[in-house]
Point group: C2
DNA sequence: TCGATTAGTCAACATGTGTCGTTTAAGCGA
DNA sequence: TCGCTTAAACGACACATGTTGACTAATCGA
């Protein structure tokens, strides 16, 4: 299969549009390949020429969203003051709010492990790159950069999942601020013991 | 269905043992209800009397593990010094190392969204309880307790997923120490700008 | 422009899924 | 102990899955 063939590109575009359309209305697990093919006006066998299953398709369809989240993480000035949310982080939460239902479905209990793993993976890679290439805010040099990246990627996914699972309740700016404060808060020094 | 009926208890125990046995050897997605029923020496229709799908079954089978992780989080002294890993946290990573393959499968791209969500949910609830009931280390009072809990739950799941995906490479104690340092590190105060 | 290539269609297949009605037998209460 | 309740077995059903081989038609290269 040549992915550059215009016929293949058209088909993939139709499949992605169809699966996002269906995912906006129903649970992921209830999206059958048959219904998907019908909705995309594509033969059922053709779906398997491009994706092994619905999970892979929906994850690919969300790739733009994942890239947007990763880019926001890449653009955040890590040393911005604690009470001033960086623009990219705010935009990230606004983006999530704009597709809250979709994110809730993807990250919820009936969601896609593939999507969640992809999201964490992209974020981890992005942050690990920043941490090893550039430099981290002081105080973390004794922790491997990739573990630090995985920690933050998980934290961000965790907060997003928690936030969209509840509605999302509250303004995107508030959620972004809470996340930023957690990232930027100085723990109270503790006497060694 | 009476869950206390000894016949039902026996059947569920056999199903859980069977699914864990299969999950140790093959990818989750390739575990069919038919093969599972055969391996558990139970009729296929009987599976559906207890669980809607394999995902729900495997998540239930992992409930003890989830409880162990949540308990460890509940027992960690949050003010322990930065370079001294609390015992429960160290035991948590040792527990994960002991079932690394299983955790890797459950939290990986072909894993169970249900399990990951359950793990985060239990951890979030546990931590939120501590944060609202007791008190957090100073400096986080302006962040909602549940968001803080979701942040840490996600971070822990992220680090575990990253760690087991790679082998796990290194000693459990090292991973626990890295996580603890990330949780306990004081960010360098930044001049407001 | 024309021929070769190949994405997509279509029908068919073995297998798995989820559900149902019936039968068997284990467990429970009186 | 005996009879009622019900978990589990069993066979059957319509439907979804993943794959195959033959055919059609869009695309590409010369």
């Amino acid at each position: 299969m040549n992915p550059d063939d215009p016929r293949a590109q058209r088909t993939r575009a139709r499949l992605k549009a169809a699966v996002l359309d269906l995912a906006a209305r129903q649970e992921l697990a209830s999206i059958t390949v048959s219904a998907l093919a019908k909705h995309a006006e594509v033969n059922r066998a053709t779906v398997y020429l491009h994706y092994p299953d619905v999970d892979a398709l929906v994850t690919d369809a969300m790739e733009d969203a994942v890239a947007a989240v990763a880019r926001a993480a890449a653009l955040c000035p890590l040393d911005a003051p604690r009470d001033r949310v960086p623009g990219p982080l705010r935009e990230l939460f606004e983006h999530v709010a704009g597709a809250a239902t979709l994110y809730a479905r993807m990250l919820g209990p009936h969601g896609s492990a593939r999507f969640a793993a992809r999201m964490r993976e992209r974020l981890t890679a992005e942050l690990a790159g920043r941490f090893s290439g550039g430099r981290r805010p002081a105080g973390w040099d004794d922790v491997p950069a990739d573990v630090h990246a995985a920690y933050l990627a998980g934290a961000l996914v965790g907060v997003i999942a928690h936030w969209v699972a509840a509605g999302p309740a509250g303004e995107p700016g508030d959620a972004a601020l809470a996340f930023w404060r957690l990232f930027r808060t100085a723990s109270a020094p503790t006497p060694a013991g």
